[in-house]
């Protein structure tokens, strides 16, 4: 997905939010705004948003001196998500379609996103997404595709969300390779976050090779790209990965909650909608 005009004020907002988490020093935060403001002209409309997100969050780290402002928030998110695990599991147990319920849960976890949101109510979100209609629902294709393949590539998104992904991975019942960011960026899941969520008990964890907040292939490692090109069933979680991979032609299923107008317009849906979209499907 390209960068839209509305992304620019959002970039500045995200920089402000991250800078405030990293420091209380108003002068430093102002410098972040100044410098991110100057970066905007170098962001072409045909680049993907996570490409710029990466540079912007790097700038926040450079100025505030905090390489991982969301460190504590990520730990708390994982702790909170883990406390939901038994409840989520019981919802799957009780449901008539375990796989679909697990997909819904994985999407509900996508609300844990400090790039798009300042805060959110995880408990309300879970109950809402478990009942909500999908705006894009390529479930049959997902189910049939899953039957045919031997293994799955699962591109994770945020810390905390991993716990919700674990629920889905447990229902997939095939070998899963779970992809994390190579280094901290926003509240995106890194290797440690995935381990804390217990992903290592259900999947092989690998790095995308980039710290962009989305799996932009040109920035990913050769190892990851090989894995990606050899995968016949790819699950992509969240907006950042959608932004990075929406123009790709591999067999990807995008699972996400739509959190901003730009993505909503791109998908032809509304903010707040939930999406299970097979690549190339309407």
């Amino acid at each position: 997905m390209r960068t839209y005009l509305d992304c620019f004020p959002c970039f500045l907002n995200q920089a402000l939010r991250a800078a405030r988490i990293a420091t209380d020093d108003e002068k430093k935060i102002k410098r972040v705004l100044d410098e991110v403001g100057m970066m905007l002209r170098d962001i072409p409309l045909d680049s993907t948003p996570p490409e710029s997100g990466r540079l912007i969050y790097h700038k926040v780290s450079e100025i505030t001196g905090d390489l991982d402002p969301y460190r504590e928030i990520k730990k708390e998110s994982t702790q909170k998500a883990l406390s939901f695990y038994p409840y989520l599991k019981s919802r799957v147990e009780k449901s008539s379609d375990r796989l679909l319920t697990a997909i819904r849960i994985a999407i509900a976890g996508n609300v844990i996103d400090f790039g798009a949101y300042g805060n959110f109510d995880l408990s309300r979100e879970v109950d809402e997404v478990l009942e909500k209609d999908f705006a894009v629902f390529n479930y049959n294709k997902f189910k049939h595709g899953l039957d045919k393949v031997r293994e799955i590539l699962y591109i994770g998104d945020n810390a905390g969300e991993c716990v919700f992904d674990k629920i889905l991975i447990e229902e997939i019942k095939k070998p899963v390779t779970y992809v994390v960011r190579d280094a901290p960026i926003i509240n995106d899941a890194t290797y440690e976050d995935a381990i804390q969520a217990g992903i290592d008990n259900v999947a092989t964890i690998v790095s995308s090779g980039t710290d962009a907040p989305g799996a932009i292939l040109e920035r990913c490692s050769t190892e990851f790209k090989k894995l990606y090109l050899n995968s016949n069933f790819i699950i992509s979680k969240g907006q950042g990965n959608y932004e990075a991979l929406s123009n790709e032609r591999r067999p990807i299923f995008f699972l996400l909650k739509v959190k901003c107008r730009v993505i909503a317009n791109n998908l032809g849906v509304r903010v707040g909608d939930i999406i299970l979209k097979g690549n190339g499907e309407e």
Copy 2:
């Protein structure tokens, strides 16, 4: 009022909104974002927001070639507001406290603000503000002050809103000088807009001498400053004038609807609150 960190993403958002109204040319709009982004570092935190607003909207005009992007919107706002006039007047007629109802109506008109809002529901707003509790309510001081003075200086805000101001001016029953912006800026009222609203039938219209979207005294004309310094009862409408005059020591009453978090925090109230605040009063 100073500029807060949250104002910076808002400046960019306002530039984007105005540029989109001025042109469909995405390249030009991108250039607006680029150049406004670069302007941010020159905006000091101790300046008032309308000072920067002025420069930013000038930049939009410079790049898009449209000196008055809100021209049509302002005309439509005035037409719409005029269609409300008989209803507003009937609300005043029926009320037990005509002055207070007219104040509420003048505040309701403050929702016509394309700087702070993309859109709004004028009809709902009127009914809401007629019933709503004030978050700051220095009405007794206002009423007693009004009894003591011979004339009023009324600093207007937006086009369309003037029609609502007219209702209040008609209840004041003292000579009123109505202040407009010197040249088009956002949807703020200029001389023509005030005339279209019929303000000339109830008040003397004068220019502030500046096209800043708020009466920043250093930018105003000598004539206006004299008028201001000799006034013993000043009504200041809206956020822009509050931002420009909140640190002043003249007898000003601020009438506004709080439209953003920055103003809400500055006033210690909530977004959406309505305010009748005498200068120096809690």
